[in-house]
């Protein structure tokens, strides 16, 4: 089943983030597909807030992995594979340590590491321009 939600502004994002997390209560890895400027980081901010993250979620394009903590001090990992040229680089980062940690992992540009994504990854797509369609 695919759920589709349309949002006209950032104000609608918290509700969709809640629905996403509620739809997959046992899942921890969420891959966000969308072109540059689609709003991947913005939606991840909303997901992080729902998870109780206290830090501001920022773009990890340069850092590749951002680590945030919830108010219960549980880590949440925010990935961005935009800068990745070869899968080898992802191995070098030690991505398994994060993806199989049992903590929430939110992934931007997952298409660049498609073959490394675990089978249980939840795929989320963001399309549209004025009105964004979020599907999962």
């Amino acid at each position: 089943m695919v759920n589709e939600y349309s949002v006209k502004s950032e104000i609608g994002l918290p509700e969709i983030a809640r629905k996403l997390l509620a739809s997959y209560p046992d899942k921890r890895i969420f891959a966000l597909y969308g072109t540059m400027g689609a709003g991947k980081t913005t939606f991840i901010k909303a997901i992080c807030r729902e998870l109780g993250v206290e830090d501001e979620a920022l773009s990890p394009t340069f850092s590749i992995i951002n680590e945030y903590h919830t108010h219960k001090q549980i880590p949440v990992y925010h990935f961005d594979f935009y800068r990745i040229n070869k899968l080898e680089e992802v191995y070098d980062i030690g991505y398994e340590e994060y993806l199989f940690s049992g903590n929430y992992c939110l992934l931007e540009w997952p298409e660049l590491i498609e073959e490394l994504l675990p089978a249980e990854t939840v795929k989320v797509s963001i399309t549209g321009e004025q009105e964004r369609i979020i599907a999962f």
Binding site: G37, L58, S59, S63, I65, K86
Partner: protein, 351 residues
Amino acid sequence: MPPFILGIETSCDDTSASVVEGTIVRSNVTANQEIHKEFGGVVPELASRAHQQNIVPVIEAAIRRANIRKNQLAAVAFTQGPGLLGSLLVGSSFAKSFALAMEIPLIEVDHMQAHILAHFLEDPQNQRPLPSFPFVCLTVSGGHTQIVLVRDYFDMEVLGQTIDDAAGEAFDKSAKILGLPYPGGPIIDKLAAGGDPVRFSFSRPNIPALDYSFSGLKTSILYFIRDELKKDPAFIEENKRDLCASIQATIVEILMGKLKLAVEEIRDTRYAIPDHGSRIVDVAIAGGVSANSALRKALLETADKEGWNAFIPQFEYTTDNAAMIAVAGYFKFLKGDFTKQSAISYARSRW
């Protein structure tokens, strides 16, 4: 005689090592093909495995180029964070082992503080004034955009920062939209030189207080280019210099706007500093984007107008480097601020 300090930086892509003598750089080395040729081998691209292959040759080169023996080192400083954990671990593990083996103190350094402390690196051939406390520093790089109130070497407060993309990322992603290779910041700077900075106008963020946002600008550039390409497929080629100049001018304007606001706020009430009258007059920039010529020019012009003393680090100490780690280590050495073998790396900023 000031002590020799070894600095090690492995927080992100580059493996770097440096030896300082007090605040004077004796060597500053980043892994590249040449270092590996000296040692034999080739340089891999990214992340922790690359750091593992780089770390020994880079440190050997730093000590050799400083013309000292390793038993002359008084302490070893390393980047503790923020950064990629796997990468940080390579530097910290080496530093810990080295400190144990040489029986010298181990010093942990925060990467973001070190970017600011790079201003205190001195060049005996080229004496320049140093900023005096308290001062304001705008740290801008591919991963960070922060306005910091610097009260003392290690007494710093982040007054504002980006809530989404860093300024360097805004440069790099704009370059990507224009079809330029990554990282495109320096290429935009070069192409902008012959362009008209007011030809195109892009949306400016409207963010409260001293925080920044560059995500909306990126989207605005993206849609603008896409729409123009529909009308004229050669739009980018025909307008490349003006596009680069306009994008650069917009980013610089956003950066300088909040920096000015920060200085004004400090002069007023919120961060007023006792015994300092009401004026902060020293304003610095740091980080990789501080190499951008338009930002440098804007800082100097604003400083002229506003009566600030402007400080820009030497070019080679703007991007990630180990000399800034070593000099931060030197200032901690003076305080006797050493760390234990149990020091742990951290991925996220601590302040």
